[in-house]
Symmetry: C2
Subunit: 198 residues, 2 copies
DNA sequence: GTCTATACTTCGATAGAC
DNA sequence: GTCTATCGAAGTATAGAC
């Protein structure tokens, strides 16, 4: 009963397996991520998946951690941009990240071991947003008693993500343009016109 | 190659199978809904599942239709209540329906045949909300140019559902109380204090 | 590090007896 | 209407050769 061998975290193959898993997850949902399919997608044999990840849950965990890390770094840049509210709004409306995140949330619903990781990460995203928004909104024309930073964070996230899910997953768009217009009217009031993208 | 036999839609056993499937879906996610498990949960043998539902997709579809029908009926009552905004807000925040819906949305992500049904149903929910809100908001102190009924519908749905997902699935609550307070302050302004529940 | 081979489980679905 | 019995496919995971 010697310890199972396990691949190094810096392996190129390991990264390729995570890439393959992410592709499968994005366009097939978490149920499409099986050891056989990940292997096939990466062009290797199934046993190799279990060499790098002891269980499929380990793979999901590693995949989520990698994505969350990247997301946190991008959010940091977003919050430090010249128009942080506009940038955060655009960032939250990106389909790719939202779809992946929602798939992980669905997964968390019945993979208890993964939920803790996702929750902790979601808290990290939020608390950084709140921290940054506190400074940002202080300089804007907004009563922070009526609209605390944490509420702005929750509202922006929820509307952005909801619109993405409806548009991307359900291909539904009733009311989307009108809602975006209302939100962006508020953003304009606080932060001025959106600067033209570089 | 005679046509497969299929059970009647009014069968009690069929309803019991749907009940079992719904229970499994709520606390284990759609991946937990397998013919064998549904049968076990309902106390019958797996072959019976395929007697009432030719494929598992048929079962999912039937389950979704039943829930959507019930939901639409409940929403109708909600929209006709004395404080429709409050009632819609409470309705949208119910965890059970939201969890089930989100699980179906996740399923729709990779079961193309089911997506159309969910999208059509979501459109039906929304359009009834918009129709009702148009009448309701006309009597309230709200500029419908700035806040069209469809926007109110989208905003309420998105915030309500998002809070439920975070609270129920992720067991996360940062900012929730504050956000609920802000929303309910607006509801109070439009519709007065929430009437005590009967 | 990657493979072959394999054990074991669970799944969807069907045929046919009762 | 419900069951037994069964097929073939696909899943996770491991042992051990190369």
């Amino acid at each position: 009963m010697t310890a199972r061998r396990i691949g190094t975290e810096t392996s190129k193959t390991r990264a390729a397996l995570l890439d393959a898993a992410e592709r499968l997850m994005v366009d097939g949902g978490y149920a499409a991520v099986t050891s056989r399919r990940v292997a096939a997608e990466a062009g290797v044999k199934p046993a190799l998946v279990h060499y790098y990840f002891r269980t499929m849950d380990d793979l999901f965990l590693a995949l989520y951690r990698r994505g969350a890390q990247r997301g946190l770094e991008r959010q940091e840049m977003v919050l430090q941009s010249p128009q942080p509210l506009w940038a955060l709004w655009d960032f939250s409306r990106e389909p790719y990240g939202t779809n992946l995140t929602m798939e992980f949330v669905a997964l968390a619903n019945h993979r208890k071991e993964i939920r803790a990781e996702i929750t902790a990460s979601a808290e990290r995203f939020r608390s950084r947003q709140v921290e940054a928004l506190s400074g940002i909104l202080a300089g804007y024309d907004l009563d922070s008693d009526d609209w605390p930073p944490v509420v702005i964070a929750v509202l922006m996230s929820s509307v952005a993500r909801f619109l993405v899910i409806e548009a991307e997953t359900l291909e539904m768009s009733t009311g989307h343009d009108d809602t975006v217009a209302v939100v962006e009217r508020l953003l304009r009031r606080l932060e001025g016109d959106r600067a033209p993208t570089a």
